[in-house]
Symmetry: C2
Subunit: 519 residues, 2 copies
């Protein structure tokens, strides 16, 4: 039976950063030992810091030569949210204007100082953290919304605007952002663009290659590329902005974003389903595409292990929204313009789900508070794994039919070796069914490098073998750069290298990342 | 009052090529005199033709040294559909496989023979026609649909598959193509991708940068770049396919396309509105976005002059679907999953339009035949102008509020000079309101170069002055390449040149086009 969601569920802030692990992760350079610091790059000198202090005010230049990361003021920038990657930069700059970034990069390019761009530092592939001693250029203090046109729905914002802040700005104007992710309270729009972030509503609104209308980018030599078009259609020459979407800051530093935003929906509904098998998850998804069609805006799934982990670690005080102990859960969202039409479609869909025995239990949110509460069971999964110890996180894409097979195979593989629930604990699977995108996560003993390497190999090899992608929406960063030659052809790698060398001949922009063999 | 469309309207084939003009357009090289044939490129020799005949069967190599274009078998390939551009190639190749194109380009790159890729030859900017004697590589004989996955909706097709054929293939499987344009019966999916074609449903499904999942491209040196991913999400390194979408064949030759196709809608409705002013067109559009929201799939407009021209030249035997002689007409389409819901939304919208006096007359199609018939009044406008004489066609984008102001200003400008209805006849405006995309067209005396140049200047300057685009969906080709430095910054042009030189160092791919200063 479908029940309404009547419990008073706690509302959580989605973006709180959790750091429950006992110790900092080892230096990335100690983990990925085949990548060496390039001696093309100069070491930072006092004269360099003096120069940056002529561009930025003193409080926007953090220089810390402290070797002990436990007390270094740069540790929050050297390390990522998941505590998976750590560099040893001695300098973090906080520009407030594009012209400052232009001067910084021009100087770094001339002096051969390597740079790593950083936004909200929520990425999980280490793309935003230094590999060695690269200078961090953090966009957090470039956080103005430059303009919004309520007729076209086009917003132009500084790279450092936090996604949720942009959404909050748009809401009273009747618009919303076309992407939504768990990190929305911390991640920045410039970082979203540089990562080509996907998130929860990609199936409805498409990816950033379609929604970004223009970018302002500072090129490696300091040139400001003003490509901030607000036109929906513009075929004048090459579509330059596309180069920088998903390039992880290796071709330039995104400083401004022009984004097409959709209208805020008049009616939003969400339902959580309890399902007995991944086959049932797929059936429920196909039926949702048939019955809900143009109003379907998200279809997420997770397994029982995810559900129990979130309850245990994050939502101890909240009752389960669905009592039954199911193997799988799904959360679907609709966005439409007429509540009564949407409700009729949803009712017909849910009735069909029950009559065909595809789902055996479910709950629908009755108000915004319950909507937010239900979302928590999905959105807080990554935090739950981080809070539980050293986290392994993967982000793979493949045919929907294969999506959960990977989790089963991982469990079987380590089960046969006696490593499941000993070395590899909390092995969970969840993700975006609509996009064929699985997140598989696990905990391992504190910074156990061998366990990390072994699981990396197993998961990436599995994905490549099944014609999947080793990174669906999180980027290559430094975490997966060693696997690029295994999942891309020689021609693809060569063309990527050609682009990198043409646009960043000195290789100063986020070196060692995304594309191998560019130094 | 809204009436149902009961007349039995004639159904037309949308893609018939009309060539009613008396004479062939002059050679492009005689019109755009500042562009000279580069002596970097070798002249075609018999040994070259001999080589191509070792790769292709004899009937797939058309060589014609005939100087008189009236009898040359290559004229259909040297000249475009609109009879606006004409080159003087002596050789057209029709490869049937990607490996043949690889061999052709490898040879041309080594011998410094310039190449122009060509699909359905429906482009209007001359991008697909030779400027001088470039070898034409036509993809018409690469026309297989390679695969289709009915679960994900991903279709993989040869570049030469005609858009309408792909749509007809998908229809019985419950899917449709995400782009639709008047030329659908002739244009090819590879050409659509290379032009970044927009069309009638971009406002609903977004552009090809979002819908293309992967491409197979032969690079200028003959390397086959197999980038034909069928994954909806894949962030492994740079998104290489984006380079070639809208690059007009200047960076490589697209040979295969992986396309995400949406479900065929269960309910399609269209209505034609009669409106008294462009202000009313905009109001009707904003109200449509409010009331029809997620089901709105197209919102097109045209002026009375367009309507009368189509009646006079193309649809003489068809009664006007709306009797009133209005200043403007709009055609809106909805695509949804429940006819009764869509009908309710449309009824509410049309009632509001009438009650607020925004529209004064309208008609709704009652079946597929009437739907097709109503579309004809919009889709046949370009053919009508071609059939009426030497055609001027423009494709500009700007703020919706300014869209028709350009047509008024053109008329006023030439009216004040006594040239309206004498030199410049049939000045009409129509386009895609939802995308801020106007097509302004006119007829001029037979190949009157002075009139052409003058109108080019006026229209492009107007668009640039109003922060618009001089080409919204048709590309730069050769027609607008001289205007690139006026609408793009030095940094933008420089980056485009950098890309061109890095990927096509010999400049053999579609030279003289899209980006200036690359030879």
């Amino acid at each position: 039976m479908f029940r309404n969601c009547r419990q008073s569920l706690r509302l959580f802030h989605t973006s709180r950063i959790v750091r429950a692990q006992k110790s900092l992760t080892p230096l990335t350079s100690d983990k990925i030992t085949n990548i060496k610091r390039s001696d093309k790059f100069k070491q930072l000198e006092h004269s360099d810091i003096d120069y940056f202090q002529t561009i930025l005010t003193t409080n926007n230049v953090i220089h810390d030569g402290e070797a002990n990361p436990e007390i270094s003021s740069l540790t929050p920038y050297n390390t990522d949210f998941f505590n998976l990657h750590r560099g040893s930069s001695k300098l973090c700059l906080f520009p407030t204007e594009t012209t400052q970034i232009s001067k910084i990069l021009k100087y770094c390019n001339e002096k051969k100082l390597a740079v790593v761009p950083q936004g909200g530092n929520t990425g999980v592939s280490g793309g935003q953290n230094p590999m060695f001693d690269e200078i961090i250029v953090n966009t957090s203090k470039m956080n103005k919304i430059r303009s919004f046109d309520p007729i076209s729905g086009v917003a132009v914002a500084d790279a450092g605007v936090v996604l949720e802040n942009l959404d909050n700005y748009l809401a009273p104007l009747g618009y919303t952002v076309p992407l939504d992710l768990g990190a929305k309270g911390s991640c920045q729009i410039g970082g979203n663009v540089s990562t080509n972030a996907g998130g929860l509503r990609l199936m409805r609104f498409g990816n950033l290659h379609g929604n970004v209308l223009g970018l302002e980018v500072v090129l490696p030599d300091g040139t400001i590329l003003d490509n901030l078009s607000t036109l929906r259609k513009d075929n004048t020459g090459y579509d330059l902005k596309q180069l920088f979407i998903g390039a992880e800051g290796t071709l330039g530093l995104v400083t401004g974003v022009s984004l097409l935003t959709p209208r805020k929906p008049k009616a939003v509904n969400i339902a959580m389903l309890a399902l007995d098998s991944f086959d049932a998850v797929q059936k429920a998804f196909v039926m949702a595409k048939e019955d809900l069609s143009e109003i379907l805006s998200a279809f997420e799934f997770w397994d029982r292990e995810s559900m129990e982990l979130v309850k245990r670690v994050m939502l101890q005080d909240s009752p389960y929204p669905i009592e039954a102990k199911s193997s799988f859960y799904a959360l679907l969202e609709t966005q439409g313009s007429r509540q009564e039409h949407d409700q009729e479609k949803i009712d017909a869909y849910l009735t069909r789900l029950m009559e065909t025995d595809v789902a055996h239990d479910g709950v629908m949110a009755q108000d915004a508070k319950q909507t937010n509460a239900l979302w928590q069971w999905r959105e807080r999964i990554p935090e739950a794994i981080v809070k539980s110890g050293t986290a392994m996180t993967y982000d793979v894409a493949m045919d929907v039919q294969l999506l959960y097979k990977m989790v089963e195979d991982v469990k079987q593989h380590y089960g046969e070796r006696g490593l499941l629930d000993t070395t590899y604990t909390n092995v969970i699977g969840f993700g975006h069914v609509g996009d064929g995108n699985l997140h598989i996560m696990a905990n391992i003993p504190d910074h156990d490098r061998k366990a990390q390497k072994d699981m990396d190999s197993y998961v990436y090899d599995w994905a490549i073998k099944h014609n999947g992608s080793i990174t669906a929406e999180h980027g290559i960063g430094v975490a997966k750069v060693n696997y690029m030659t295994r999942c891309k052809t020689e021609a693809q790698i060569h063309l990527m290298q050609t682009l990198k060398k043409a646009i960043d001949p000195n290789g100063i922009m986020n070196p060692y990342k995304a594309v191998p063999g560019t130094l």
